[in-house]
């Protein structure tokens, strides 16, 4: 699959932080087209903040500075609320980590999946209903007619994530940002959900930004990887090149993956002092 030539997302010298104090994201630059890119790092590396800044969902106390930050041609630094509202959910959608908390506990599944359609498309009630049912089937959920009357507290984790996916994709956006979509799931579910994301994104010719701390996951499902550490991007490489990574941090992360091969052996740890000096 060839990457689109005009980048969908462009970030240049993006800095996020509290007005005083060390910046949490320190002048990073990247470009993402209609491809599957992963942003990996430990907690605190700034990867989640970067993703949220692309949707304008940063906490109000954080300040954002960039010499360029654009998504689908929109300058994200100077958008009005109404422009944000049409962009979010319309052109770019988000899937979050834990469906237990990310779904509204007092509204039915059907209502929540339908909401993006109400906000972004002009369809009749019956058309919306049809789309909702079709979408629920597309994410692999059986009995959509029953499901739309349920409430989130009656769902399992895997189902909840599929519903979040349905919510994100129902308006056929051009790009999907997935913020640790499988971290709250059990191991068996993780691969299923990620494969589902990969398939749907491919079918709909979308771009994907996957935030993760799991390199194995990333290697299996993405084309490109950006490695973040303490607010900076330390390494960029193709996913298939991960086993042969040259940066020590990437190497350590790769070597740290627990698997049958490492069973019983001590996993390598990172020498952070050495890392500080590495460009």
């Amino acid at each position: 699959m060839t990457a689109n030539t005009s980048p969908f997302i462009i970030a240049d010298r993006l800095t996020i932080g509290l007005p005083e104090g060390r910046p949490l994201v320190d002048g990073i630059s990247f470009e993402i087209g209609k491809e599957r890119v992963a942003l990996v790092g430990e907690s605190g590396s700034g990867k989640s903040l970067t993703a949220r800044s692309l949707m304008g969902l940063l906490a109000p106390s954080l300040s954002l500075n960039a010499s360029q930050l654009s998504l689908a041609g929109n300058d994200l630094r100077h958008l009005k609320p109404s422009q944000w509202q049409s962009l979010r959910g319309g052109k770019v959608a988000m899937v979050m980590q834990d469906p237990k908390y990310a779904l509204n506990p007092s509204k039915t599944i059907g209502w929540q999946v339908e909401e993006p359609l109400l906000l972004h498309r002009k369809l009749s009630r019956r058309q919306r209903q049809e789309k909702v049912l079709a979408m629920l089937e597309a994410v692999g959920l059986a009995n959509p007619h029953q499901l739309i009357k349920r409430y989130p507290n009656q769902l399992s984790g895997g189902m909840g994530q599929r519903i979040m996916l349905a919510i994100a994709l129902i308006t056929d956006p051009e790009f999907l940002i997935a913020d640790e979509p499988t971290s709250a799931l059990d191991h068996a579910m993780r691969d299923q959900v990620l494969s589902l994301i990969q398939d749907l994104v491919a079918q709909r010719d979308m771009g994907l930004l996957l935030i993760s701390h799991d390199l194995q996951q990333v290697a299996d499902h993405c084309q490109r990887v950006m490695v973040m550490y303490q607010g900076k991007i330390l390494d960029r490489l193709a996913a298939k090149d991960l086993p042969q990574a040259t940066h020590p941090y990437t190497q350590t992360l790769w070597a740290c993956r627990p698997s049958l091969a490492t069973k019983g052996k001590r996993l390598p740890t990172l020498d952070r002092a050495a890392l500080e000096g590495y460009p």
């Binding site: 969902l57 506990p105 909401e115």
Partner: protein, 350 residues
Amino acid sequence: MAVSASSSGRSMPIRRLVQRLAGNLFSLVITLLGLLAFTFTLSHLSPVDPVLQLVGDHATASTYAQVRHQLGLDHSLPVQFWHYLQQLAQGHLGVSQSTGQPVADDLLRTFPATFELATCALILGATCGIGLALASVWHPKSWIDHIARVISLLGYSVPVFWIGLLGLLLFYAGLHWSAGPGQLDDLYVYTLEPKTGLVIIDSWLSGDRQMFINALQHLWLPVVILGLLSMASITRLLRAALLEENSKEYVTLARAKGASRWRIVWHHLLPNTRGTLITVVMLSYVSLLEGAVLTESVFAWPGLGRYLTNALFASDMPAILGATLVIGSCFIIINALTDALVWLTDPRTR
């Protein structure tokens, strides 16, 4: 691969609903019994000996014993309690020592005035309180938010009788915007035909426009004072609940869907604070009933509260206990109603 949903009690069957209601009712009855046990105990702890009151100091021992037997005081306590309950069931609350009337009649006479005051204050307080809380969450950390916090904290900490006095000083003695204590001017008090017992409604029904305006002029100040109290506690609690919901993940997801601020407040925040909202408003109503005890004293409002305070000054035991019983029962019933209302209106129990 398809994943099917587990069906775990999607809607509450009628049998469980009835069971739950029965449980609530049972709690209600137990709590009422507790209150009755309390008033019964108090009436026996009273230093006033009811037998002596009837027979006087110079009665003989046999007269004393006879009257004691007549009053049923020679029975054991549980039996006396049972008699007490029986009498209550027939509506006998004793006779007031100050008015000479049956306490039950006195209470019926004075209840509407308190109801009028508390209900109007609640309507005012709830409207302003909910509005202010919503304004706070609409513009977090703005000047509106800060004013909301300050007003609610002050209103929560101010003694109602004091602000009532100051209110009278400013608006009655000073500006003459209020007609002062009482429900109506003396001129109208005796010409009003009591149809519903609620002065505002009765004066409207009488067709005398001057009387109605006068009633309003008497009503507005105590209602505003009590409404301020109500608004303070409603804003304080609702604002906290709304802000807490606002920081949750599902609100971020709603924003990520492109929802507007109005949509988030109406469709996401409010449905999830519904329980808190109902509880807070009902709680405010009950505390208004208590606040009325103090406010009616300041405004000479002829309601239950004033009846109670007069009885306190006169050490009129039957009246004190009767009023306590009624106010306490209102408290208990409204609290029980709140619980039932919260889970009945939960869409997930449908």
